[in-house]
Every structure is written in structure tokens, then in C-alpha cells.
């Protein structure tokens, strides 16, 4: 499950989470132009609400993560977006915890950024082929979930649990989520590309002069 509650993982793992989260947010905020802030806020709110859509799968219960979508739409800015949303979820809903916040942000945001970078690479080579970008986005949607659940399993393993059974369980229970998010992300990005392609530009500038920095 993507939100690890307080008291489950060990201290070194928590520390790594905090360091990575702080570094990621710092990097993201430095290169975030003010004009993009409203978009970041709206996607953060989408992520915040997405975790409420949950359903039981097998012996466990899972919820939508949408980090693939956030990563594709925001790139590095996914870090602060996810940090704020997870903090509010912890404080208002009791999902996850505040102590374990750094780790949860890392587990969700790093895959998001990776998906964002992956998508950017494909998108830059797909000028004039929005279908290809949309499909890539859909795959990134599923990939984001997969990487996150693997990261969660790794965090648990690093705290003394057995990795393989935990990983198998978490990946298996999240397969429906991966399918739903792939479809959703692909559709959403397809729509955006058709109506306003600049939305995916990483800086405030139009997409034409955007480079991967």
C-alpha cells in the first residue's frame, strides 16, 4: 500500500526519505516559474482527492495513486505537489503519517519524476504524432504505480521484512490500479495534447523551445 503508516519502517529508511524529498523539492522549486504554480496546485489537489477512491482487492485494500499523471504533467514540480498533498492527507485523514512523510513522498514522487522524464523523451520525438505521446503517457501511468509499489516493498524490506512476499502481494493487489491509471492518464494526456499542448511544457514558455534540462 502506498501510504506507509508511522511505526512500520526503521530510522535509516526514514532518514533517506527525508533527504531525498528535501533535495527533490529544492531542485523543483528552483526551476518552477510562477506561472506554472496554479497548474501545480490543481494537480496536487487531484492527487489529494485521488487517494480517497479506494476499493478492496484480495486480502487488502488499494487506492488510486495517479503519480504517473502528475509526473507527466508536472515533471520535477511533482515533488512539491505530492509533498503538500501527502502532508494534508496525513494531517486531515490520518493516511500515512507525518514522521514517515519524507519516505512516502519519495516513494511516490521519484517514480513520478522518472515517468515525467521518460514521457518528455518520447514526447519530444513525437511531434505531430499525439497518439504516440498519449500511449506513452498511459504506459507511464501504469509505470508510476508499479515503481511506487516496488519502492514501498523495498522500504519494508529495508526495515526487516521479507522483500519477495511483500513485493508480490503489493504488486498483485495494485494491478487493477495500474490498469485504471494507464487508461486514465492516457486519456487525460491525449485530451490535453489535442486542446492545449503547451500545458505539458516544463517551463512557462511555449513547447517549441522547450529542452530537457
Amino acid at each position: 500500500m502506498a501510504h506507509i503508516p508511522d511505526g512500520v519502517v526503521s530510522l535509516p529508511v526514514l532518514a533517506v526519505g527525508v533527504v531525498v524529498t528535501v533535495a527533490g523539492c529544492a531542485h523543483a522549486l528552483k526551476r518552477l516559474p510562477p506561472e506554472r504554480i496554479p497548474q501545480v496546485a490543481i494537480l496536487s489537489a487531484v492527487f489529494f482527492v485521488a487517494a480517497l477512491v479506494h476499493f478492496p482487492v484480495g486480502p487488502s485494500s488499494v487506492h488510486l495513486i495517479l503519480n504517473g499523471l502528475i509526473g507527466v504533467m508536472l515533471g520535477w514540480a511533482a515533488f512539491p505537489a505530492i509533498l503538500v498533498a501527502l502532508l494534508l492527507q496525513a494531517v486531515l485523514f490520518g493516511f500515512g503519517g507525518v514522521v514517515v512523510l519524507g519516505l512516502n513522498v519519495m516513494n511516490v514522487a521519484v517514480p513520478a519524476v522518472l515517468c515525467g522524464l521518460l514521457f518528455e523523451a518520447v514526447h519530444l520525438r513525437s511531434a505531430g504524432k499525439p497518439r504516440r505521446s498519449a500511449v506513452a503517457a498511459g504506459l507511464c501511468g501504469a509505470l508510476g504505480v508499479l515503481l511506487t509499489v516496488l519502492a514501498v516493498a523495498l522500504s519494508l524490506a529495508a526495515s526487516g521484512r521479507e522483500f519477495v512476499p511483500a513485493a508480490k502481494l503489493i504488486v498483485f493487489t495494485h494491478v487493477p490500479v495500474m490498469v485504471i491509471e494507464a487508461a486514465f492518464t492516457g486519456a487525460a494526456v491525449g485530451l490535453v495534447l489535442r486542446v492545449k499542448p503547451d500545458f505539458l511544457a516544463r517551463s512557462g514558455e511555449p513547447a517549441a523551445e522547450e529542452g530537457v534540462a
Partner: protein, 197 residues
């Protein structure tokens, strides 16, 4: 900008989806009560499913393990308490879900020896027909009956703690928008400041 309304619609849809059904926190919880000397309970998810095959560990107030087992297909577990002390029940779902619940000593019958004493639970100390024994029996029966009737109420309370209200969701979204407004204002001020000769 065409983008904003589309995303706002998406956001509104998601919120309504989430707020339409009674939203429960997606957490694993464990509930347990004592009926007589048996402590029984179940592990469940706030959203309604039961946690099957989850590991159950019970530790007494003295730190010594009392019971280790697995929940059944209904998420249930049960064991006999030997001492009248706090029992800390921990359930581990194996995928990061974890829940803890303490059954206090006050819920267990007084006929159990207190923590720290040696010896098994005492067998009947008086002949079955003496008034003292009858009264003790009666007290135990009443205790068990009351526990049984109060149990559904406590279950409801336990689950109710995790209910997510729509106003929590709206509050969270409000915070996000507010923070972004502050960030935007601060960033703009910085840019304007830099632009001045």
C-alpha cells in the same frame, strides 16, 4: 485558458466520487473485545473489507508474547487470556498496513490472576451451590451479556473515528489552493523586485 476549467471539472468529479459514498479512511484497523476470558476481534479496512490472513501478535503488559496467529477469511482471531492485564494486539497485513489495539485489563473478568503472579486461573473455590459461588456466576453472566450488547456500539465508534467528511476534503483542497496563492504572490514579488533598476 481552456485548460483550467477542464482540470477543475476533473477535480470536481473526483471530489464528488469520493464524497458521494461515505468515505472511510483507507486504513487497516483492528477491533477486539473480551467476552469472559476470551479475547476475540477482527481486522478490517476502513473502506469495508476484512483483512484476511494477516499476522496477529499479542503482547501482554509485561512485554511477553501471549499469542501469535493469523486472521481467518473473515479477518477474525481469538485467544484465551490467562492474566488480567492489558493486551496489546498488533495486526500486520504484510504490505505495509498495520494496526494496533489495546484490550484493557478492566475488560477481563476479575477471576483471572493479575499480571505477574504465577499459577493458572483458579478453579472454583467454593462449592457450586453456595450463595457466594452463585453470585460470582451471576456477575460473570451479567458481565458477558453486557459486553455482548455493548460490542456493536464500540465497533461502530471504532469505525466512525475514521470517517472522512466532505469538509475535510474541501478543507484540504482549500489549503492547497491557498498555499499556491501564497507561493505565487511571493514568487511574483521576487520577480518584480529583480526587475526594478
Amino acid at each position: 485558458m481552456i485548460r483550467r476549467p477542464a482540470l477543475l471539472v476533473l477535480l470536481a468529479v473526483l471530489t464528488l466520487l469520493a464524497g458521494n459514498t461515505p468515505a472511510w479512511a483507507h486504513k487497516m484497523k483492528v477491533f477486539a473485545t473480551a467476552e469472559g476470558t476470551t479475547i476475540a476481534g477482527y481486522a478490517y479496512f476502513g473502506s469495508g473489507g476484512r483483512a484476511m490472513q494477516a499476522k496477529v501478535t499479542v503482547v501482554g503488559a509485561d512485554g511477553a508474547p501471549v499469542y501469535e496467529g493469523v486472521t481467518d477469511d473473515q479477518g477474525r482471531f481469538a485467544f484465551n487470556a490467562m492474566r488480567r492485564m492489558d493486551h496489546v494486539v498488533t495486526v500486520d497485513g504484510g504490505d505495509g498496513h498495520m494496526a494496533i489495539y489495546t484490550v484493557t485489563a478492566a475488560e477481563l473478568p476479575e477471576s483471572l490472576p493479575a499480571a505477574g503472579t504465577t499459577g493458572a486461573a483458579p478453579t472454583a473455590a467454593a462449592p457450586a451451590s453456595s450463595p457466594a459461588a452463585i453470585e460470582a456466576d451471576l456477575r460473570m453472566v451479567v458481565d458477558e451479556s453486557v459486553a455482548r450488547h455493548v460490542r456493536p456500539l464500540r465497533e461502530q465508534l471504532d469505525a466512525y473515528q475514521e470517517k472522512i467528511w466532505l469538509h475535510d476534503v474541501i478543507g484540504g483542497i482549500g489549503y492547497i489552493l491557498g498555499l499556491s496563492g501564497l507561493a505565487f504572490g511571493w514568487a511574483s514579488r521576487r520577480q518584480t523586485g529583480k526587475g526594478r533598476p
